[in-house]
Amino acid sequence: MTDTLIIIQATSNELSKSDLAAAGFGREAAAASGGSFDILLLGPSAAALSAEVAGLGGGTVFTMSSAELEVYTAEAFAAAAAAFLSGHPYRLTAAATSSATKEYFPRLAALLDVPMASDVLKVESVDPQKAVLTRAVFVGNLLATVELEAPQALVTCRSSEFAPPASGGESSAVEPVDAPTALASPGKVFVGLEAASSDRPDLKEADIIVSVGRGTRGPDEGIPLCERLADVLGAALGATRAVVDAGWLANEFQIGQTGKIVAPEVYVAIGLSGSIQHLAGMRNSKTIVAINKDPEAPIFEVADLGLVADLFDAVPELTAALESRGG
């Protein structure tokens, strides 16, 4: 029985870690229900990505693209997914949590009149009438058990909590499907995207993140020191809300309740206090390193390795130590 569908947004020619994690969720949900999972690739790169996605252990890989899906909008993607799902009623339909699925999955839930669980961390059980899932609430401070009582339901899953399925094994069948006509909602036009260009790894992909707080005193003072450390470590750069609000770094660098949620192998927190909203975005990192001059800073409560020091001394010293070690 095929009962889980994973939707992957195919608007770029590369699969992200989150897409692989969503397939990992598919495998876990399928194991819980005793079924299997399919994948729907939605967008202009659907065909181009299908060969790679066919190796992820799913049943069938469906590809859907059309002029209206060329650029992502919540309206068109929700309408396209709704059209597909009304012909193929899956037990669970899931995607990785992202700024896109945060807006189009609830819209899709309304179009289909099915319940939804956001940013799920764990699959507890999946029966024909009830799915039991774990998710975080109250700024990540508590875990809640959520029961979706319906034969069909939607889920977004937190990509850091699901391992990509092992590759290899049989390749899935690829099946192009027609996009419904007149998808584009009359009311919405994409105008443009402004993205900071960077040679560093993407926050969601990185194994190491160097994250900066207000204590760095901005782009003319501590931030370049931390950037140099990030480069020596091959790390991505992250930031607190305070840093982004001050205009020191762009919004896509923000980690936390209202930014990105990450869980790299190593998270180096520099000159940030560790507010609950920031912790909500990084507390599941495997190893947390904190450098802060205040021994009482709450970040030390979650840090595996803490150094009480002035970052203006410690960060250049650490960078130099790592450089000489590497050389």
Partner: protein
Amino acid sequence: MKLLVTLKRTPQRDARIRISEEGDALDLDNVQFEVNPFDELAVEEALRIKEARGEAEVVVVSVGAEECEQQLVSAMAMGADRAVRVHHDGELDSLQVAKALAAVVEREEPDLVLSGKLAVDDECGQVPAMLAGLLGWPQASQASDIELSEDASGATVVCEVDAGLETVSLALPAVIMADLRLNEPRYASLPGIMKAKKKPIATLGIEELGDLGPARSRVTGFRALEDKPPGIKVGSVEELVQALEEKKLI
């Protein structure tokens, strides 16, 4: 023009929430409540639109029990003109709340609905996009800037997306969800607080709003995060490098 702002009563942003002994509910006895921080931004934005245009009515709406009138009054103290409360005591799921709000929208016929992007208690981030879907209206999420056209037929919205800042243009009516950098909410002034006491709160019975269907998403238990073993403090950069090497992290 008419602006409708959806508003949820939530525990104070830094409150420590404990679980009841049975583990199936929250112990909220000593917790203070406030307007959900993201909804406060939505109220502020509505007031700024009203001030910039020189005319507009700002209506705040909440679905909940009687105590959420305190938060409706807070919004009116900031400057909202009137409030609607859909009375319901007990749990509703996001889709039921969205259906109730859709019924209010059909009665009020606003030109724009402003919502917070997320309620800081359940952290679902579902209701406003569900509302947009039910109404068939365009939506913009994670808004950090909203510019209405002169004739109020459309809006240009900057949204904080994973890749950066996305600009979209929407035809009104639409649903727009506020993110943190949209504005800085004002404090209620003393005259504002006095005036708010006289502003009307209309109450609607939830049963007047049509069939909302059953609650199909339910929270059945809570648990605390697993305790993490305490970390170690290192005394110098040298010790830090050594510890990282021992853990094979570098």
